[in-house]
Every structure is written in structure tokens, then in C-alpha cells.
């Protein structure tokens, strides 16, 4: 039988785990590790099109994947793609199993306390979509509506900020959940990327999502471990170079159907 002693034991274990928090020592140079290894390990999504999806051979494809390959090329190393989910992408980074997370990460203060971000590498055109007969034209109109969104994605963070308090936000595990919820009528409104909405339209569904308004444009950032200034600097330089020489614009055209916006 389980008794108070066991419960105490559990509590004790929790406290112990909490108290092993040691101060962070300055890490060895991660860039040096990558160069000497000759391999850049990058966490990429595989269930978040168009940033990360799979081809018919199950190999990852998408904006984030091309970005990872681009960075590896500029570094002159091999790219090793590690498919991740929104639940485990940060643990992969924190336990040193990958060097970078290129997984359409949005930035907020809370997240910045845990990991570092580079400069923005991708725009994120996300909007609020709904069928013809739903009248929504701005955030206030969402009042009383049920809105589907993919949990932890940028649009989730942004929508949570701008939606009125009586809007009900349903957060699904992945884009498929959000889309299925929309198509099956579980939600009337979804907030998602324009490209995802376009993909739904391609299927010719009975409910056709129309762009109602654009959510504030918040770009994506590459995530890396704290205290790696050299790596941050190097990746930022590569991003700036890719912006300048048009290669990033090409990736954007390819996957998002539009070039990089001015402000990026």
C-alpha cells in the first residue's frame, strides 16, 4: 500500500531535482565544435508545412530545411537534419543533441530567458481565415468566436496577445489538427499561415477559408543555446549575406509564394 512516506519521497525527489540547478558555466565554443565535427546538426520540423514537411520519400523538405542546408553550406560543413516536434525541439537543443533549432520559432521574453535567438530568417504571413459567411475584419470581431490555432506556433503567441478576452482559442497539436478542426466544423475561424490556407483551398473543401485580416507580421528566428556569442555572430552574418545576395529571397519565393518583405 502506498502511504504518506511514498508521497514524501516523491516530494523529496522533486525538491532534489529542483535544487541541482547549478550556475551556468560558459560553454566551450559551439561553432568550434561544429567546424571540427564537420557536421551542423539542426532541429527541423516535419509536421509544419510549408516550413517543414516531408516528401514522398519521407525526407524533410521546406523553408526551414532549405535554411538549414544554406547555413551548413556557408559554414562549409555537412547538414544533419533532426526532425523534431514542438514538444521536443527545445530539449533537443538544451541537451546538446543539436546545434541550432530552425523550426519557425517565434520570439518572446520568456523564451529568451531560456535560449538565444539569431536575427530573423523568415517572414511569417499569418492571418485569420474563415468561410465567406463569417464576418470578421479585425481582432475585436473575434469576440465570442471559436478560433483554432496550432499550439506554440507564432500565430498562437500573436493571437493570444491581440484576441479579445471572450474569444475562445482552441489550441491543436499540429497544423493537421487545426485544419481538420476547421474542415469538420469544430471551429469557424482559424489563424494560420497563408500558405497553409492555400493548401486547404487546393483540396477544394466545402468550407473555403478566406483571409479576413493579417495578424501582425512577426518573423521567425533561429534558436540556439545561451552563451554562444561566436555562433550567434556567425549565423547572423550568414543570414545577412543570404538576404543581400538574394538566396533567402529565393527560398521565400519557393515555399511561401512571395518574396521577403521590406522590413525583414
Amino acid at each position: 500500500m502506498i502511504n504518506r512516506r511514498m508521497l514524501l519521497g516523491i516530494a523529496g525527489a522533486a525538491i532534489m531535482a529542483a535544487s541541482v540547478a547549478a550556475p551556468v558555466p560558459a560553454r566551450a565554443d559551439a561553432l568550434e565544435d561544429v567546424m571540427s565535427r564537420g557536421v551542423l546538426r539542426v532541429a527541423v520540423p516535419q509536421d509544419f508545412p510549408p516550413f517543414g514537411s516531408v516528401g514522398t520519400d519521407m525526407a524533410p523538405i521546406g523553408y526551414d530545411i532549405d535554411m538549414a542546408i544554406l547555413i551548413a553550406e556557408k559554414l562549409g560543413v555537412e547538414a544533419e537534419l533532426v526532425p523534431v516536434t514542438s514538444a521536443n525541439r527545445i530539449p533537443y537543443l538544451q541537451t546538446g543533441k543539436v546545434d541550432l533549432v530552425i523550426s519557425s520559432l517565434g520570439k518572446n521574453a520568456e523564451r529568451e530567458a531560456v535560449i538565444d535567438f539569431t536575427d530573423a530568417y523568415a517572414p511569417f504571413f499569418n492571418g485569420v481565415f474563415a468561410p465567406d459567411d463569417v464576418t470578421v475584419s479585425n481582432a475585436e470581431d473575434l469576440s465570442g468566436k471559436v478560433i483554432g490555432v496550432t499550439r506554440g506556433a507564432i500565430e498562437d503567441l500573436e493571437l493570444t496577445k491581440i484576441a479579445p478576452s471572450d474569444a475562445v482559442i482552441k489550441r491543436y497539436e499540429d497544423n493537421n489538427g487545426t485544419i481538420s478542426a476547421f474542415l469538420s466544423g469544430q471551429v469557424d475561424v482559424v489563424a494560420t499561415g497563408n500558405v497553409v490556407a492555400a493548401a486547404i483551398l487546393e483540396r477544394n473543401p466545402p468550407k473555403r477559408p478566406e483571409m479576413k485580416f493579417l495578424i501582425k507580421n512577426s518573423p521567425c528566428y533561429i534558436g540556439l543555446n545561451k552563451n554562444e556569442p561566436v555562433l550567434v555572430e556567425k549565423v547572423n552574418a550568414i543570414i545577412a549575406e543570404a538576404k543581400a545576395d538574394g538566396s533567402l529571397n529565393a527560398i521565400s519565393e519557393k515555399w511561401l509564394g512571395a518574396g521577403l518583405p521590406e522590413e525583414l
Binding site: 516531408v54 519521407m58 499540429d174 493537421n176
Partner: protein
């Protein structure tokens, strides 16, 4: 967007199902071995070992397998122990399977009547001999149907290894759905493949149970 044909979908799911099968075999066989060791600790003489196994079972049966996998892979990584994903998956699945098998088997050992213990004791057998020659051979027969039945849970449990990067059947289903946005076809096929893997197991468990019951009708 890339077009998947039905064959592309099915082919990729079947390829991923290989992981499901490999992981199931590893966890079932490994879990069986660990479970057997735990069983002897659980029913053996030392009260310390008995308490240990009781808490072990409580811990692994009382927390989600998903979290066990997560902590085995990333938790160890956090402490600087870098284990490969297959090791963490194998470890967590084996320990989890063992916890359930130990309890199933303990029930089977306890279902052997006192008379069998007494009769073998009265013939001068020691504890190990009683176990080896009288109790276990009988308990084993009782244990076969529920053990085979539990293997279905193991097959389904492997789905959770996607948290540490395995693309097995369920995860492949999710990934393909997110590439095709055709959840009904994809998840329908996923369900069918699981059914094809699991149903023979549960059916044979039922058949074995009936057979053994018939064999024991006079008891």
C-alpha cells in the same frame, strides 16, 4: 505542395511500421527478462527487495509512458549522459513493460493454490525447488494468455517513442497527414495496420485461454 499517391502513403506507413515491430519485439523480450527478475524479487524472501519492486511497479505504472520516454532521453542528456535515441527508447519501454509483466505474473503465481505449496513442502522440497518444479510450471501456463494479451499494449505503446524522434507508425501517420491534409485516408490506414498487427495477438491470447481452460476443466 507535393502530391502523395495512395501508394506513397501506404508504402511510407508500412516502412514506418517496421520500427513499430522492432520496438515492440525489443520491449517485449527485454521487458520479459527484466520482469522475470523483478518477479523473483517481488515474491522472494527479502522484504527490502519486495518493497523496491512494489515502488518500482507503482512508479512505472503510475506515470505516463510518454513522460518516461522523455525523461529517459532528455533527462539523461541534461545530466551530460548522452544516450542514443534507440537506447533511451529501449530502456524506457523495457522498464515499462517489465512493470506490467511483473504484476501480471505475480497474480499468476499467487493463483496457484496453497495445497501445491504444502504438498511440495511436505515432500521435503526447498523454496527454490518448489518454485522451479511445482509452482512456476503451473503459473507459466496460466500466464500465457494475459502475457500475449499484454503484448498488444506494448505494440500500441511504441507509438509514444515519437517524443524522442522515432518515426514509427503513428508518427509517420501524423507526418504524412501534415504533408497531405488527408487525415481520414491516412489515419484509416494507420488504424488498419495496427489492427493487422494486434488482432492476431489478442486472438491467439483468447484461443490459448480457452484451450488452457479446457485442459483444466477438472480442477
Amino acid at each position: 505542395m507535393i502530391e502523395f499517391t495512395l501508394w506513397d502513403i501506404l508504402r511510407n506507413l508500412l516502412l514506418a511500421a517496421r520500427w513499430t515491430i522492432v520496438l515492440s519485439l525489443v520491449s517485449f523480450i527485454g521487458g520479459g527478462v527484466v520482469g522475470a527478475i523483478l518477479l523473483f524479487m517481488r515474491i522472494g524472501g527479502s522484504s527490502l527487495l519486495r518493497a523496491f519492486t512494489r515502488y518500482y511497479v507503482e512508479l512505472f505504472q503510475g506515470t505516463p509512458l510518454l513522460m518516461q520516454l522523455f525523461l529517459a532521453f532528455f533527462g539523461l542528456g541534461l545530466f551530460g549522459i548522452d544516450v542514443p535515441a534507440w537506447f533511451a527508447a529501449g530502456l524506457a519501454l523495457i522498464l515499462w513493460t517489465a512493470a506490467f509483466l511483473t504484476e501480471i505474473w505475480r497474480g499468476c503465481v499467487e493463483s496457484i493454490t496453497r495445497g501445491q505449496w504444502e504438498a511440495s513442502a511436505s515432500l521435503g522440497m526447498g523454496y527454490v525447488q518448489q518454485m522451479r518444479y511445482v509452482i512456476l510450471p503451473q503459473a507459466l501456463r496460466v500466464a500465457i494468455p494475459p502475457t500475449v494479451g499484454f503484448s498488444v499494449q506494448v505494440v500500441k505503446g511504441t507509438a509514444l517513442t515519437s517524443i524522442i524522434g522515432f518515426v514509427e507508425l503513428s508518427k509517420a501517420g501524423t507526418v504524412v497527414t501534415n504533408a497531405t491534409f488527408q487525415p481520414f485516408i491516412v489515419y484509416g490506414l494507420v488504424a488498419l495496420i495496427y489492427f493487422a498487427l494486434c488482432w492476431p495477438l489478442s486472438k491467439s491470447s483468447q484461443i490459448l485461454e480457452r484451450k488452457l481452460n479446457v485442459a483444466h476443466r477438472n480442477h
